[in-house]
Symmetry: C2
Subunit: 335 residues, 2 copies
């Protein structure tokens, strides 16, 4: 009753009364095998429940075949914020001319030393693009340690991370938005931020602050919305409670902006009449929302394309420099 662990090709061959090579041929559908041998091997495979060890196989085969898009977020968020689908589409498109498969790896931030880290260390992919990286996920450590070629989409939070990244100038984008609010005559301008533990969140807040400070305005009307719809609405609510005369708000993502507008209308405020709002992303929702959302363009798919380009360089053994894309404001009705 010895628990003869997992059967190997050797076992199959022995049982079928052939050599390992022949067994291997049968399994790989090589035509030059006698029917009898084929049958015997097949029977042995079935009897033993043999399954090829893929590590061994790829050890001898070689060649890259996939890259991972790593998102330290819950699947819920990944599927609800169009930012991610946009990114994924961009990556997929950029990889269209290569034989590389994209795999999406999601997981709660902070679990990086759990399954995500283990997976990444497992070396199943030939490169990684990290998308919504947070301050305390140590993804960059794991990646650095395993030397897996990887690039960040969005500047990594930690200055220590050495891998290249592609980012958009988030602070500049926020400045554009805030200046627009100012130019249109808003007096009391708040902001709904992204998570403070992400560089995009911080940078956008900084841009808003800078403009307001330069204009000699107060910079205390700040509420965090965590890049979720519910968070955006709640933050809008708090903002209005703190400052009922609020007449302009810069929201750090369209997803939050749309729900903030909803909250505003629930609270009896008109947009842009009473409160002007500017979003960030220029996601599909921006066009569809009523009123149309004035927003900062986040060139997601362009960024994804650049990230892939950098990654491909890295995978080829060349090195790659960070890239920062510029952005612009799209004016619609909301501000």
């Amino acid at each position: 009753m010895a628990a003869k662990s997992v059967p190997t090709l050797e076992d199959v061959a022995t049982r079928a009364g052939v050599s390992r090579a022949t067994a291997s041929r049968v399994i790989n559908a090589d035509p030059r095998v006698r029917e009898a041998a084929r049958v015997a091997v097949q029977a042995a495979v079935d009897a033993l429940g043999y399954r090829p060890n893929r590590a061994a196989r790829s050890l001898v085969k070689r060649g890259p075949d996939s890259i991972a898009v790593v998102v330290p977020e819950s699947d819920e968020r990944v599927f609800s914020d169009p930012f991610f689908s946009g990114t994924l589409r961009g990556v997929t498109q950029a990889l269209a001319s290569t034989p590389l498969q994209v795999v999406l790896v999601m997981g709660e931030a902070g679990d990086d030393d759990g399954r995500m880290g283990r997976y990444l260390r497992g070396g199943h992919t030939d490169g990684a693009i990290v998308v919504s990286h947070h301050q305390d996920d140590n993804l960059w450590r794991v990646l650095e340690q395993t030397q897996l070629p990887s690039v960040f989409l969005g500047r990594p939070y930690s200055e220590q991370a050495t891998m290249p990244y592609v980012d958009v100038d988030n602070a500049a984008g926020a400045r554009l938005a805030t200046e627009h609010l100012l130019a249109r005559g808003c007096r009391t301008i708040g902001t709904i931020t992204g998570p403070p533990d992400m560089s995009a969140g911080r940078d956008r807040l900084r841009g808003w602050e800078e403009v307001l400070r330069e204009a000699g305005r107060p910079t205390d009307l700040v509420e965090s919305g965590d890049f979720t719809a519910a968070g955006g609405a709640a933050a809008m609510h708090r903002l209005l409670e703190r400052s009922p005369d609020l007449d302009g708000v810069f929201v750090a993502s369209d997803l939050m902006a749309v729900s903030a507008i909803g909250e505003l209308s629930t609270l009896g405020r008109e947009v842009p009449g009473d409160v002007a709002v500017v979003g960030y992303d220029d996601s599909p929702a921006a066009t569809l929302s009523r009123p149309g959302l004035t927003t900062v363009v986040n060139p997601v798919s362009q960024m994804a394309g650049r990230a892939v380009a950098l990654l491909l360089r890295l995978m080829a053994g060349e090195d790659a420099e960070p890239e920062v894309l510029s952005t612009r404001l799209v004016v619609r009705e909301s501000a």
Copy 2:
């Protein structure tokens, strides 16, 4: 200028003037190495741009670490139909108590011998759950050939596929829906189907047909909507063109049903006053739509849970039988 391909541990060791074993120790942060050796190896690693070959590593290490959710659909579809996010959530939850990471692998159907097949054959994951399988993707062939433990979520189209699956009784669900339409007095009942090359599409159509046939009604009011929003609206349009006195329609997915209702209202029909509509899935959209959508429950997350259970059995070397879950109708306002 010889292109000394990828450096191996051997190269590192040689360059650092130590043995392979010591180099390995340094790389795996084994404490018992002299500082000098550590430094030398580290330098060699940097100089050579050495990266461990993960296949070799896992060949000697062992142990499963991930399963793939394979979806032969474009990322666009995957991100727009809540069916997929529901499934993924279910899988993730079911795997919560294990150390397994989920990776999502998407790709155009039919590309199965391209990157998707190559990836699957590459043996990067220890199991696979195939969702949304189509008639002519030969995924099941690939999976059978590589002996990768795998289960289908939704009965595979081909009878030849031998892997276990979990499915819901789609025909019974469709029957429930159609009977409801009949019971509520509809006289002219059409259907908007899913893709004919998927078992779910066929089965739901069959259920609708059966009920109508048993009731002695015509079964020709069939239009395909391909499980997309745009397809649903277009199909609705055609249906109404063909039969302006249509007063009931069974739509094979909520996503299509919601847009069909939109089309209906564009065309000046009231739901359920003029036309009653029943959807399929009971997705979040069903509750949110106006009027609320009467629909057949597709127990996505339960199915995902069962699929994971079967897969885990397979991975443990046990075998697993197909499972078919039952379903029920949720009556809201639309019919």
